[in-house]
């Protein structure tokens, strides 16, 4: 049982994005930027975006963090690139809802696509913040706040 939980958390997709994060780095002249910090574990994330006419045309991140937070940032940047700000915000809501759905309920994975690999995080309450950090940072960047903390 414990093995299944762990495999549910550390799915192959997550491990792959941890080892080879996509969109890793910084956009030279971003239109939007925010730094995310989870003081509990020391995770730091710097997110840069290019937004043109309401569409996120580029998204990159850098920083240090655990496998969950790194993979989450990697998959998130992939997921929002080429999509509108409105869609990205909707995806934030759907993702947030999925990772915070109580264990006795079925999480709604229909609206999150590939990000459904993070539904296993629900089993590990201490790790939900790791999965959410990138998303909170995205929200902050889009709203113009430059530094956010998940604490």
């Amino acid at each position: 049982m414990s093995d299944n939980d762990l495999r549910g958390l550390y799915q192959e997709v997550i491990l792959d994005h941890n080892r080879r994060p996509r969109n890793f780095g910084a956009i030279a002249s971003p239109t939007h930027h925010a730094d995310g910090h989870n003081p509990l574990c020391g995770d730091r994330l710097s997110l840069t975006l290019t937004v043109q006419d309401g569409v996120i045309t580029n998204a990159m991140f850098q920083g240090s963090g655990c496998a969950i937070s790194k993979a989450s940032a990697s998959l998130m940047t992939d997921a929002v690139k080429g999509h509108s700000v409105v869609d990205a915000e909707a995806l934030f809501e759907a993702f947030h809802k999925m990772v915070t759905t109580p264990m006795d309920e079925e999480p709604d994975e229909s609206a999150v696509g590939k990000l459904a690999v993070f539904s296993g995080v629900r089993e590990f309450p201490a790790r939900v913040k790791c999965a959410s950090l990138a998303w909170h940072t995205l929200k902050a960047a889009l709203s113009g706040a430059e530094i956010i903390s998940t604490e």
Binding site: Y10, L15, C41, G42, R44, S64, A67
Partner: protein, 402 residues
């Protein structure tokens, strides 16, 4: 120590279907039955407010509370129970000194000296003091092993140094600090000295008179006692000259709207109804530890730390952070390419409880250029089997993380 382990009910349980291996003792230790029973007995038989009732229960509660003070006095070899002040924890003890002593004695341009291996509770109260007074916080550096650089410490001592605050044992690195020697140097420079014994008090015997400092703080919950109870020891003359920290009941002699006079030591620093069950539980914990003896505890823990160091180091990709020649209890480490948070989650599924993160010592992490470590910390009830379980769990980490 096998028979001792059986005294800790919380250790006897399964976590995720595996026997619990508790290696987060630097955060808090488990409680022996005698401590749990002492608190229960107090609440079931003697619960009353202290220092004010003439009725039987109040007298019993007061007697136990004051007996606990004597147990603590003897435990740290203080000269008088007047020097033993009950606080919530070590953090409150440091804040009390920084406020009550610091505000009255530290001014603009003065210096407070700490070391680079302090945890947040021995940094922040001094930063706040410096913020209020215009004093300057100085930090004595450590080397790559996590040892205080002696010459740098000496160089930072000077006529402006008003307070030197040092841990006796680093919670993040395990370094044992020669506090008596450093205290002598600081006293010779004319500074006051506070020793943070939060980590040391459950691994070695404490003798405040031998150390020679002015203040010593420790917390009960790391010493197998309850949470919410700590001790500040201070030299009687120094405490006497200090203004109170918090105002309220119990700390006063007489109150009129025109003027209030302070109670004698130690009550001057114990405002309001205290955590009465706390000292009673702490006294039970101290007697428990004394029954085993620090010689036996130290011998057991030293051998186990050496065993654990070798075992963990043998796991592929592990680097130990904190390699001082004199260490106790704490084994901090990192693994190549694997964040400590992931280590913590995976070993937890194997029943192994360790701490991961910055250990409330962010500057220590910055010093080593890492965001966090995984930390196993040993107590008297740990065994070689616990260490073996940790090694197996770390191997499992590598399997999961590929």
């Amino acid at each position: 120590m096998t028979h001792v382990r059986a005294e800790f009910p919380a250790l006897d349980q399964l976590v995720h279907g595996k026997p619990l291996v508790y290696l987060d003792n630097a955060a808090t230790t488990q409680k022996p039955r005698v401590v749990i029973e002492a608190e229960r007995h107090y609440y079931e038989h003697d619960n009353a407010n202290i220092h004010r009732g003439v009725h039987t229960l109040s007298e019993r509660a007061t007697a136990q509370y004051e007996q606990a003070r004597e147990v603590v006095r003897e435990f740290i070899n203080a000269g008088s129970v007047k020097e033993v002040i009950f606080t919530r924890n070590a953090t409150e003890g440091i804040n009390l000194v920084a406020r009550a002593w610091g505000d009255a004695n530290v001014g603009a341009g003065d210096e407070v000296l700490i070391t680079a291996m302090e945890h947040h509770s021995n940094i922040v109260p001094w930063q706040q003091l410096c913020g209020r007074t215009g004093a300057v916080l100085k930090v004595a550096p450590i080397d790559d092993r996590g040892v205080l650089i002696h010459d740098e410490f000496v160089k930072l001592l000077g006529p402006k140094t008003k307070m030197v605050a040092i841990t006796a044992l680093s919670n993040a690195l395990g370094t044992v600090v020669p506090v008596a020697q450093l205290t002598a140097l600081a006293k010779a420079a004319g500074a006051m000295v506070l020793i943070d014994g939060s980590q040391s008090a459950y691994h070695f015997a404490t003798d405040v008179r031998k150390i020679g400092a002015d203040f010593f703080v420790f917390t009960g919950h790391k010493l197998y006692g309850p949470t919410g109870i700590g001790v500040l020891w201070g030299r009687e003359a120094v405490l006497d000259a200090m203004p109170p920290f918090l105002g309220g009941g119990d700390m006063i002699r007489s109150v009129t709207f025109a003027k209030t006079t302070w109670n004698d030591l130690p009550y001057k620093f114990e405002a309001g109804t205290p955590h009465i069950a706390g000292p009673i539980g702490l006294a039970a914990a101290i007697r428990f530890v004394q029954g085993i003896g620090f010689d036996a505890i130290h011998a057991h823990e030293s051998a186990l730390l050496k065993y654990a160091t070798d075992a963990v180091q043998a796991v592929k990709g592990v680097t130990i952070i904190g390699t001082a020649p004199e260490k106790a209890s704490v084994l901090s480490f990192v693994m190549d390419g694997i964040h400590p948070h992931d280590i913590g989650t995976i070993v937890d599924r194997e029943g192994v409880a360790i701490r991961t993160g910055h250990h409330c010592a962010q500057p220590v992490m910055d010093r080593f250029g890492i965001p966090a470590t995984a930390r196993a910390s040993l107590a008297l009830y740990n065994t070689k089997e616990d260490v073996d379980a940790l090694s197996r769990a770390l191997t499992r980490v590598q399997e999961v993380m590929g």
